[in-house]
Every structure is written in C-alpha cells, then in structure tokens.
C-alpha cells in the first residue's frame, strides 16, 4: 500500500500543485487532494480557527480537517519565502503551528520552504519532504527534477492565458487540445491573491461570471515574470510580498495596455497585504483613468450583492468603451 499524502486544495495549490503531485508520485506515494471548497469545508474551518484569521486561512483549516481521515500524511509546508529577500505573508509563516493542534490530524509534512537567501532553499525543502516517504536520496533528487520540469510547463500554460484549473486539466490530459479562451468584446483584469480569485467558492465563481457577461478575463498569472517584475520595480520601494509584488506589477502592466477596459480587485476581509497593495493599485488605476472595482469578501458576503456590483461595473465599462469608440 503506497503512503497517502494529503494536499489541501488551498493557498499555493494554485501555483504548485502540478509540481507537488509529480514529486510525491515519483517517490511512490499516492496523492490525495481535498475536494473543491464548499460551505461545509468552510464551516469546519470557522469552527476551528480564531475569528480574526482571513477567509483563505479559515478555509485551509477546513481542507486539512477533510484530509485527516483520508491521508497518512498531510503536506503543509511552512512557506517562508519563494523569492530572494521576499516573503509571502505572516500567516503563511505560522500556518503549520496554527494547524498542528487540531484534533485527529495525521503527521504534517511541515518542512520550511525558504528561498530568502537563495534558491537552493527549494531543493532543501524537497529533500526534507522526501524523507517522510523514502530515505533514497537519488530517488528524491530524481523526483525533484521531474517536478521542476512539470512546473515549468504549467507556468507556461498559465502565461498562455489559461486559468489554473484549465492548465491543470491540460497537464493531466483531461482535455485534448489547449483551447485558448475566445476573445470577447472587452478585456477585464482580475487582480487578487490566486487562492482567492481561483477558488470558485471564495470568489463566487467570478471568472465564469465575468466571462458569461462577455468579458475576457486577464489575471496576474498571465503576465510573464520578467514583465511584472519590471513594472513593479517602479514602486518607491521594493515590495517584500512576492504575491503582492506580482499583483501590483501585473496591474501596472495592464494599466498601460490600451485594450484593457476595466480592473476588478478582489481582497479578503482583513487581509494585511491586500489592504496596502489594493490601496496602491487603486491609486494607480484612478490616476490612469481606469474603471476600478474593489470587492472585499468574507464568510458573510452575499452572492447577490457581488453579482449586482459586477453587472453594474461591466455595464459602466462597456458604456464607457462605446463612447470612446
């Protein structure tokens, strides 16, 4: 019986799942993924997390608890840093410690992923994680190499304009051809933490909704690293949050593109980084005359309200575009 490694479908799942999956499978483990977020999973999270934590972290509690009965180990790394001299968020730094004490959990693969000083942090983390499954160093090295290759391919697909779920479907051969999203009447940029905008439960299906309202949705993940980093470099001081820098850099890039008609920012209620980066993005958008909508979501946000605001926003954007043409 292979060891079952549980991976919660939250947080950086949207960036790294293809890599993690290949890595653990190459080591001979079976990967168990928690189901897409639901009300029930969130309810579990709400019961076990303190009130003050943000929605995505509460949801992570729910996902981890869901995996408790299904997996022998749960992969919950402490992601300190994925770029030189940058961090993600204090809550990522404390995540394994916040979750460790929940009842009935199997052991956590809570290795530190720390590339603050240099990139070799990634391989060190892989080695430590691998040792939970095997003591064969060569096997770990090989698995890591395969995983990196897959990751490159995945990021390339994202940059082609696919959303994470679409790119993963391609990677897993669930669709034949990568059909790129059809161009629509207007281009709308959707900016937010990946685990907020791509989790269709948290975001209330915002991508699908925008598309069905006739918009092509562009996100930060579609912008190549070189470009968003260059754009983010014009900030008065380098932003030390990797995801925040990615979001601001991409927003600045899109603000300069003439075929973009509007920008929607999704923030989690009480999110620290969003309160700062969102404010900056809004200031830049206003200065550029870009229609801007800020949606703050938490566990009480009603779907109806969001839909109404989105519709009103898109109407305004289309109307504005019609006048200009």
């Amino acid at each position: 019986m292979p060891i079952k490694v549980g991976i919660p479908r939250t947080l950086l799942y949207y960036y790294y799942f293809p890599m993690w999956k290949v890595f653990f499978e190459a080591l001979g483990a079976e990967v168990v993924l928690s189901p897409p977020s639901t009300k029930r999973l969130l309810a579990e999270g709400l019961k076990n997390a303190v009130d003050e934590v943000c929605l995505p972290i509460k949801l992570t509690f729910g996902h981890v608890l869901d995996l408790a009965a299904k997996a022998d180990l749960i992969f919950l790394p402490r992601i300190v840093s994925i770029e030189k001299k940058e961090y993600i968020c204090p809550k990522f730094l404390g995540l394994p410690d916040m979750i460790r004490n929940l009842k009935g959990l199997p052991p956590l693969i809570d290795v530190n992923v720390n590339m603050y000083r240099n990139k070799s942090g990634a391989y060190i983390a892989a080695q430590e994680a691998g040792r939970f499954i095997t003591s064969n160093h060569f096997k770990i090295w090989n698995a890591y190499r395969q995983a990196r290759k897959v990751q490159k391919k995945y990021f390339r697909l994202l940059q082609l304009g696919l959303m994470p779920s679409e790119a993963m479907a391609v990677m897993e051969d669930r669709v034949r051809n990568e059909h790129l999203p059809e161009p629509q009447d207007i281009n709308v940029v959707l900016i937010g933490h990946p685990y907020n905008i791509y989790d269709s439960y948290i975001s209330m299906n915002i991508i699908k909704r925008l598309r069905s309202m006739g918009a092509t949705v562009l996100t930060a993940e579609h912008v190549p690293e070189k470009i968003y980093k260059k754009c983010a470099a014009c900030l008065p001081k380098k932003l030390f949050w990797t995801l925040g820098q990615h979001m601001i850099g991409a927003a600045l890039y899109y603000l300069n593109r003439h075929d973009v008609s509007g920008m929607v920012h999704v923030a989690a209620f009480g999110c620290g980084p969003d309160s700062m980066t969102g404010d900056l993005i809004e200031r830049y958008a206003r200065a550029a005359g870009m229609p801007f909508l800020n949606l703050t979501i938490d566990e009480h946000t009603g779907e109806a309200g969001i839909v109404t605001r989105l519709e009103a926003f898109l109407d305004m954007v289309m109307w504005k575009k019609a006048i200009i043409i």
Partner: protein, 364 residues
C-alpha cells in the same frame, strides 16, 4: 527643514532628545487624540492597521504646525510596517500635502549604517556628535522605561487613587526637559524621588498580569485605551513584553547594549508552540507568554490592532499554551471602534476571574 515623526507612547521623548541634540528643528505632533484618529481613518485604507491610521493623523496635524519633513522607520517585511512610510507618503501626496520623506531602514549588519543616515539628517555634525546624540536618545528611552516600570509597581499599591499617575506625569516631564546627559542624570534622581513620595501599601496583595502583543498598541496608551493605567486602578501590577529601550537595542543596535532582556530569550521560549518568526512580534508574544507563566504571573492580556497579522498567528496558538500552563489569556483587539465602556467591563471581568482563581489556589 522642520522635521516630524509619528507618536508611539513616550517615544517622542527619545527621538526629540536625539534630534534636538543635533540641532534639528523638530515639530512634535500634538498628542494622539480622537481628532488624530478621525483624520487617519478618513484618509487611510479601510483595513490598514491602526498604527498606520494614527501615524497619518499625526503627520497631518504636524503639517498644520509647520512640519515639512517626515522621519519614519522602515522595515523589510513580512508585516506591513515596512511599507507604512511609502503608503503614508502616497496618501499625503494625493491629498496635496507635499512633505519630504526620510525613511530609516533598519541596519542589516551593523548599527553604524543607521548612524550614517542620522548624520545625513543633521547636516554637518561630526561623528562624535551623532554618536553622542544617539546615546542620549537611548539613555532617555531607558530612563523612561525605568519610570514606566516604577509606575506599574506603584499604581496598584498607592493609598490615594491617582497619586501614582500624578507623580508619573510630573517625573516624565522632568525627563523630557533634560537637554543634555548631565541634566538627565539629575532629572533621573529627581524623578525617582518624586515616585518615592507616593504613599503605598507595600503589603497589599496584588495580581500580576503580563501584557503582551503588538508593539505599537503595547507602547501607546492612546491606542490601547490606557489599559495599563486601568489595570493599575483595578489593583493589578502589570509587566509588558516589550519596552522601548529593549526594542531599540534589538533592532537598531543589534544587541550591542548588554543587560537588557533580548528577543532571543522570548523566541526560544516560544519554540514548542511557534517554531518560526512570523514578522512583527508574533513569536515574542508567544514566548513572553510562556516566560510570564513560568514566572508565576496570574494572567495574560494580549493586545493588538484589528487585522494585525503576526498577532493573529499568536492568538491562534495561545489557547494551547494557556491550557498547558493553566494561565488565563484575554485578547483585546483595538481599532477605531473600540469603546471605553466595553473595554472596562471586560477588564473588570477578567480581573475578577484572576482574583477568584488566586483565592482558590491559595486556599488549597
């Protein structure tokens, strides 16, 4: 140049001492008030943390008094403070307030990096003068901290309510007025005399509470609704997990001054519960909690601003520690809506609980 800087409790005493020693023209913002907060709230992002809002209010009020340059500390993450100065500057600019911004980033390797920047602010002063000025500011910080510790002890034991605070304010003013190290030495002994004159009941049994949490809300009575004074009046002797001079020593002097509590102690005590730093003072909060529990304190109060990330991590972890050491923890979250009445009720209820626990323990 007319320089200003944000308030944080008694911080202004040290900064002012240092800058004036260097001959810099300083504008101290009016003490933080409801008006300061209202200004800050009006122009800040809604979910920015409380210190940012108060900083902004301070700057706007200081500008009305003629300040044209802001001196602000920096940081390199992961918590928001490291980007405060830039956001605040962007907001002021959008308001049409052109103020110059000088950010003092924390030294990475050696305290001398900071000296270079301070010298720059002072214009043409000699290195020796810069060194003396920094030393003078630090001495003031230590003197103020000693005074604060003194009043923590005196308040719950005073015979006439209010005496301790009156003496504390008087002593604080003396320290603030000292304009050179010699004067400061004199003020220090005078301050000690003033505090000694407060009549106390030394035998009175008091409860001991450790106040832990985020640095700004710990050090700034306006932002924490004066909880230290309130606890004192309820007969509680408090101790605080962070004092200004310790913070300066850890972050600016990188541990050069000896004989102070250091963050290393707190962080190693946190280890079983929180094994990594999480930015801000999150790990220190958990570690200090452990240290206070071991030292036999009766209870702990964690204070932090609404949405403060490192402290939310600590808050999530404290319940386990609280159970292991069987020590009650009260969490107080501060924002612009925190009301005085509600806070007092919660403090009273908590002190009652500690009192009863203590009585039961002593009866056994």
């Amino acid at each position: 140049m007319r320089a200003t800087f944000p308030h944080m409790g008694n911080l202004y005493i040290s900064i002012k001492a240092m800058l004036q020693y260097l001959g810099v023209d300083v504008v101290i913002p009016p003490p933080s008030s409801k008006k300061t907060l209202a200004l800050g709230v009006k122009y800040s992002p809604e979910f920015a943390c409380l210190p940012l809002k108060l900083n902004l209010g301070n700057f706007i009020e200081a500008r009305e008094l003629g300040a044209d340059t802001i001196i602000m500390a920096g940081g390199c993450g992961p918590c928001r403070f490291g980007y405060y100065a830039q956001i605040e500057h962007a907001i002021l600019k959008d308001l049409g307030y052109e103020m110059e911004l000088i950010v003092l980033e924390p030294p990475e390797r050696h305290a001398s990096e900071l000296m270079v920047k301070i010298r720059h602010i002072s214009g043409s002063r000699s290195w020796w003068q810069v060194y003396q000025a920094v030393r003078f500011g630090f001495q003031k910080a230590r003197t103020v901290d000693d005074l604060e510790m003194n009043v923590f002890y005196t308040r719950p034991r005073e015979l006439t309510q209010g005496n301790a605070d009156a003496a504390y304010q008087e002593a604080l003013k003396l320290i603030d007025l000292a304009s050179n190290p010699a004067e400061l030495k004199e003020s220090r002994s005078k301050a000690a005399m003033i505090m000694k004159r407060v009549a106390m009941d030394e035998k009175k049994p008091v409860l001991k509470v450790g106040v832990i949490g985020e640095i700004y809300t710990l050090l700034d009575p306006f932002s924490n609704q004066d909880i230290e004074r309130r606890l004192g009046s309820l007969g509680v002797e408090v101790n605080r997990s962070i004092y200004l001079s310790e913070w300066i020593n850890d972050h600016i002097f990188l541990g050069l001054a000896k004989g102070l509590r250091s963050k290393k102690e707190a962080c190693s005590a946190a280890h079983p519960y929180l094994r990594h730093f999480v930015g801000g003072h999150g790990q220190e909060t958990v570690g200090s909690a452990v240290n206070y529990a071991r030292a036999g304190y009766d209870g702990l109060i964690q204070v932090f601003p609404f949405t403060c990330m490192p402290e939310i991590v600590a808050e999530s972890i404290l319940p386990v520690m609280s159970k292991d050491y069987s020590i009650p923890v009260l969490t107080l979250i501060m924002d612009e809506h925190t009301g005085e009445a509600g806070l007092m009720t919660r403090l009273e209820a908590f002190v009652d609980l500690l009192d009863r626990r203590k009585t039961v323990k002593e009866a056994l």
